[in-house]
Every structure is written in structure tokens, then in C-alpha cells.
């Protein structure tokens, strides 16, 4: 993977001007809904501070909280598994299915509600190779599963698609009328299709929004009801969670449930906030606790607080770059600003362009319900990318040269004078040559004045 990937993918995205407009406006609409849901809550900023401090504390005592959680979950009759990485997570899921959901003469059927962790682990592909039919039941996830695409947003996985695209996909896979694009009708078709899958499922997998040390419970939030429908009909429930999902006490949910949906979609709360503590009579509940690079991030003092993320997606909706480049331009499970600070931890080389896919405007940090200083971390990752020699050569040497010039006033003064002189006499076609000067593709250069301020000052004030 070319490490200048984001600019190239973003440029390709921008080739379709109207669609870029639509994508930007759709996501901005979500940001506006978020504002309308946030402004009337007088203690919203206090809640952000609380949410941030609770998570800071939890991370500072994470091992003990995980142990407490595990002990309580076991007491509740839940089986707890630990996975150091994605491969182990997938194998554990596979083993649970093999031992608990034996079926004869057909593939085991899994229904899965939205879980970014399983996207991160590429679980679907692994299970399908092992003769397990996986059906994503979140509508957005189902759409992209049909299309064999990764999600472009962590809350709205199919936000890059227009209703016409979904209509086409459903025509192909669900037999809806060709040209049908009414979201109501398409959603109804998915409902009918997925109800069959829910009823037929042997095993249901969910993600985890919050895990509570005090009680050994975990909470899953959905709007569609697909998590509850899946797990309450299947015999086995597997919940995959990253280690960072912990919170100490049940009542801490009162902070996060007021922040999550308001930040995510502008709803006052998700339709279903489901608290799972014990399996139902005769059924099984498993929790897989996954590291996959998270403990490494915990060890990076400048970046550890990215683990506070509650996956609301608000930083994506607010990011002017994300809105105009699309989730796929990040080429990482979690796109947008938060993805740009999580991904370099996983593969600095591959994702070295992501910390630069930002103007450092800081909107992400101000919108974040748990106050992650995202734009500060983007700046810090840039330095690490620079130190690791991952910058494009032209930029690296250009910056070294510029730094030299700017620490020598005489050289700077002379250089500026020569450059301005050249800009004044060179023809517009040359100074605005689009292959040599990317600035000039859509912008004019400023007029080069005869005198710099310094020269004016010397002449008029000294």
C-alpha cells in the first residue's frame, strides 16, 4: 500500500463534484442534528468532562477492572475468553461455535449485529472460509455485506451509498423491483429477509458498547433491535469486546447513555440500550476480550487517551475532510479523525498519510463526547511519521531547507525577494502550472508585491 494513499483516494472521491456535495451535506445534516440534541442539555459539557475522567481513571486501573469484570461475569454464568490479537479472536469464536452449535448436514448460521471489532478482525471472511454462514443484521452492514464493501462510517456503515445504489443492490439480492429506491420499501424488504435469518440462526454475535466491572454486565446499543432479536432467538450469544470498553460501575452508564446517541445521530438515546448480565435458561453467553494492539496504544503516553473512544462517530460527521473524502479514503476499519490517530499504532508505514488528512481545525476534539484531544494527537503522530522517515522525500527535504532559511534572517530576506521577483516576471502559465504547482489547480497565487513589509518598514520607518 502506497503511503500517500489518502490524498490519492480523496482526489478520486472529489472527481464527482455533485456526489461530494451530497456526501458532505448528508454528514453535515447529522452534525446539525447532533447540535440540536446537545445544546438544550445544560450539563452537556459537564457530562463530557465526567465521561472523560471516568475513562481516564478506568484506563489507569484497567487490569484490575478487567479482572473484576471477568470474576463477576463468571459468577453470572458467562464464559470469558481472552484474545491477544485478531487471529486468536477469530479462532475463539470458531471454537465456541464448534463446541456449542453443532449442526448436521448444513452450515452453522450466525447473525451478527454491528461490531467494529469484528470488522477490525476480519471475522466474516474467516468464518465463511470455515463453513459458517454469517449474516450482518444491521441494515447498513447488510447492505455493504451484499456489496462486499467495508463500512465507510462506524455508525452509518453505508453512508457513502445513495438510495439508488441500495435499490440496485436489493434488486440483485432480495428481488425488489428494479428501480425501487424508496427507503421505506427497501427497509421493509430487508426486515422480511432478516426476520427469516433471525429465526433460523444458531448463534448470535454482538459487539459491546460498555462493560461494567461492578456487575460483570455488558451493554449493547442499537436502534434497529437487531442485537436483541438475534441473541434472544439464538442458542448461543457471543459478545466481542475490546479491552477499552470497561467502565467501573453501573451508574456510570448514566453519563455515557446521555452522550452516545446525542453525539452520534442527534437522538436523545438509542432505541435499545440492552443490559446483558446472565444467559437465559438453557442458553450460553460468551465474552471475548480482545487486545489487538490496544495495550500497546495504552503504553503511548501521548496517544493512550484515544482508547477512551466510545465509537459515536461524531468526529467523522464534523470533520470537513472526512465529509469531502469519504470513509473509504482512510482504508482503515475506523475512518475519520479517530481512525487517523488509531491506525498509525497498528501500521505506521501503511497509514502514514492519515495524520496528515486533517487541517488540524480541532472540530473533532470539541465535538468528542469523551474529550479526546484528537487534533493534538494528529499533530503528534505527524512528528512520529517525520521521525520515522515516512514523509515523502520532497516534503522532508523541503522542510529541512525551509527550516534553515527561516533561522537565517538575511537568507530569508533575500530568498523572499528573489521569489517574489520571479513570481512577478514569470508568465501566469508557468507560475500556475498545475502539474508543478498543486496550489494553482483551483486557486490563484497571491500577487507578489514589489516590497516586503520589512522592505517597506526599512524605507518608511527607520
Amino acid at each position: 500500500m502506497n503511503h500517500q494513499n489518502h490524498p490519492e483516494l480523496a482526489e478520486a472521491f472529489n472527481k464527482d463534484f455533485e456526489r461530494t456535495t451530497w456526501h458532505d451535506e448528508t454528514l453535515w445534516f447529522v452534525r446539525q442534528k447532533r447540535d440540536k440534541a446537545v445544546y438544550p442539555i445544560p450539563e452537556f459539557q459537564d457530562l463530557r468532562t465526567l465521561a472523560s475522567e471516568i475513562k481516564d481513571h478506568t484506563l489507569s486501573n484497567l487490569d484490575n477492572y478487567l479482572i473484576e469484570f471477568e470474576q463477576n461475569a463468571i459468577k453470572n454464568g458467562v464464559k470469558v475468553h481472552w484474545a491477544a490479537d485478531a487471529a486468536e479472536h477469530n479462532q475463539i469464536v470458531m471454537d465456541i461455535i464448534k463446541s456449542s452449535c453443532k449442526v448436521e448436514g448444513r452450515n452453522t448460521r450466525m447473525v451478527k449485529s454491528k461490531s467494529m471489532l469484528t470488522e477490525e478482525c476480519h471475522l466474516n471472511a474467516f468464518l465463511q472460509k470455515n463453513n459458517i454462514d454469517v449474516v450482518d443484521t444491521d441494515l447498513g452492514e447488510r447492505i455493504i455485506q451484499f456489496r462486499d464493501e467495508p463500512p465507510s462510517h462506524i455508525v452509518m456503515p453505508a453512508i457513502h451509498l445513495k438510495k439508488e445504489d441500495v435499490g440496485e443492490t436489493f434488486h440483485e439480492h432480495l428481488g425488489t423491483t428494479k428501480g425501487e429506491k424508496d427507503p421505506q420499501i427497501l427497509t421493509e424488504a430487508a426486515r422480511q429477509h432478516l426476520r427469516e435469518k433471525f429465526v433460523a440462526a444458531d448463534v448470535a454475535l454482538t459487539g459491546v458498547n460498555f462493560a461494567i466491572a461492578e456487575t460483570g454486565s455488558f451493554v449493547v446499543c442499537t436502534n434497529e433491535g437487531n442485537a436483541d432479536l438475534g441473541v434472544n432467538l439464538a442458542k448461543v450469544h457471543i459478545a466481542s469486546m475490546g479491552i477499552e470498553k470497561m467502565i467501573p460501575k453501573l451508574h456510570h452508564l448514566s453519563v455515557y447513555t446521555r452522550l452516545l446517541a446525542r453525539s452520534a445521530t442527534g437522538q436523545p438515546i438509542t432505541t435499545y440500550t440492552s443490559h446483558f448480565t446472565k444467559p437465559a435458561e438453557g442458553k450460553e453467553m460468551h465474552i471475548v476480550i480482545v487486545d489487538n494492539g490496544r495495550t500497546q496504544q495504552l503504553g503511548r503516553a501521548d496517544f493512550r487517551n484515544s482508547l477512551k473512544c466510545i465509537r459515536c462517530g461524531a468526529c467523522m460527521n464534523t470533520c470537513p475532510v472526512y465529509r469531502r473524502s469519504g470513509g473509504h479514503s482512510y482504508d482503515f476499519t475506523v475512518p475519520g479523525p479517530i481512525g487517523a490517530i488509531l491506525s498509525p499504532n497498528i501500521d505506521l508505514h501503511k497509514y502514514s498519510s492519515l495524520p496528515f488528512a486533517s487541517t488540524l481545525c480541532g472540530s473533532c476534539s470539541d465535538v468528542c463526547p469523551v474529550k479526546i484531544d484528537i487534533h493534538v494527537q494528529l499533530y503528534k503522530w505527524r512528528q512520529i511519521v517525520g521521525q520515522a522517515n515516512e514523509l515523502p522525500a520532497a516534503k522532508k527535504w523541503g522542510m529541512k531547507g525551509l527550516a534553515k532559511v527561516l533561522s537565517m534572517p538575511k537568507v530569508y530576506d533575500l530568498g523572499g525577494k528573489l521569489a517574489r521577483g520571479a513570481l512577478r516576471v514569470l508568465p501566469h502559465g508557468l507560475t500556475h502550472n498545475q502539474s508543478m504547482n498543486p496550489w494553482a489547480k483551483a486557486r490563484e497565487l497571491p500577487d507578489a508585491p514589489k516590497q516586503s513589509f520589512k522592505e517597506w518598514y526599512e524605507e518608511n520607518r527607520k
Binding site: D63, H251, H252, V255, Q267, P268, A280, L298
Partner: protein, 187 residues
Amino acid sequence: MTSREKILNSIASNKPALTTLPNVPIFEGDGSIERFKTVLEGIGGRVIEVASKADCQAAIDKYYSDLKNVASDIVKANVAVNLDTTKEILEQVDLAVIQGEIGVAENGTIWVPEINMLNRALPFITQHLVLVLDKNNIVANMQQAYNKLENVGSYGVFIAGPSKTADIEQSLVIGAHGARSMMVLIY
């Protein structure tokens, strides 16, 4: 070394110095029926006030006379649902009428513990859902709700309105996988 030990050891060596856990105050707020009603109707639910719990039957007769298969331990039911009810029977339920425990005015959500559900799948698989709620159990916000909630039992859900999705172009569609409509009868 097991992965469990590996992860816990790695956390122990990588975690920052212990910080203090803040106290979460019980924020004040408007816990009125009016606010609860406005908010819940804003997210697609319907709120009907009845004089007493006994009047729920009349409301169900009035609003849901067209629905055939009803499961409930509050009003007259013709589908018996319990822990052992099969998926095939659950799938046929048109209306479930269930007791809700705590209503939250700020977000229109209602706490439904497992013991009220008859079967864990019922509130989700039913085509239409009615929750019955004592007006004295409406609180202002989630701090007050969790404060009132002594424990979450084996399984329990805050339900706020009907099942919904906006996954196609952000167009809101009511009735994704769960209940197509949701009504709250407040007594």
C-alpha cells in the same frame, strides 16, 4: 503464558499512574409527563394517559382492535408466552403489552427488565409494542434512572420508541427489525 496473562501484564506495565474516579452527581431536571410525552413522540412513540392500570384494556381495545395475536400478562391475551415459547409462536405475535418500570423524560426511554418480558425475545419480535407505565415512575434523566434502578437483573433493556433505522441515505424509517410501533400507556 496465556493470552489473559499477556494482556493483563501488558496493561500493568503500560497503564498510566492511577487517576481519581469522579463522583457523578444526580443532575436535576424536568421529569414531567409532558416532557416525557413530547420527547417520546419526537422519536416515533405514542403516549396515551389512562386513568388507572385497569383502563389499559379499554385503550388496547380502542387502538389495537385490528391486531389478532396478543401476548400480555396485563391485558387479555390469546398467545401464551413464557420462557419456553418457541420461535415459531413468537414470530406470530402482533402485539405485546408489557409493564415498563422507569420512564425517563429527557429521552423518552423506559426500563423493561427481563421478568416483565414474558420471554426475552418478545419485546423485539412482536410487530407492535405497548409498554404500561406508572406516572410516578417517570424521572428526569439517566442519572436519576440508574439511581432508582437497584440492579439490572439478568437482562434488561431501556426501550425508546419503535425500532428504527436511517441507514439508507439518512432517511428515517420506523420499523427496522423490532416493533413497528410503540405506545406507552401512562396511568
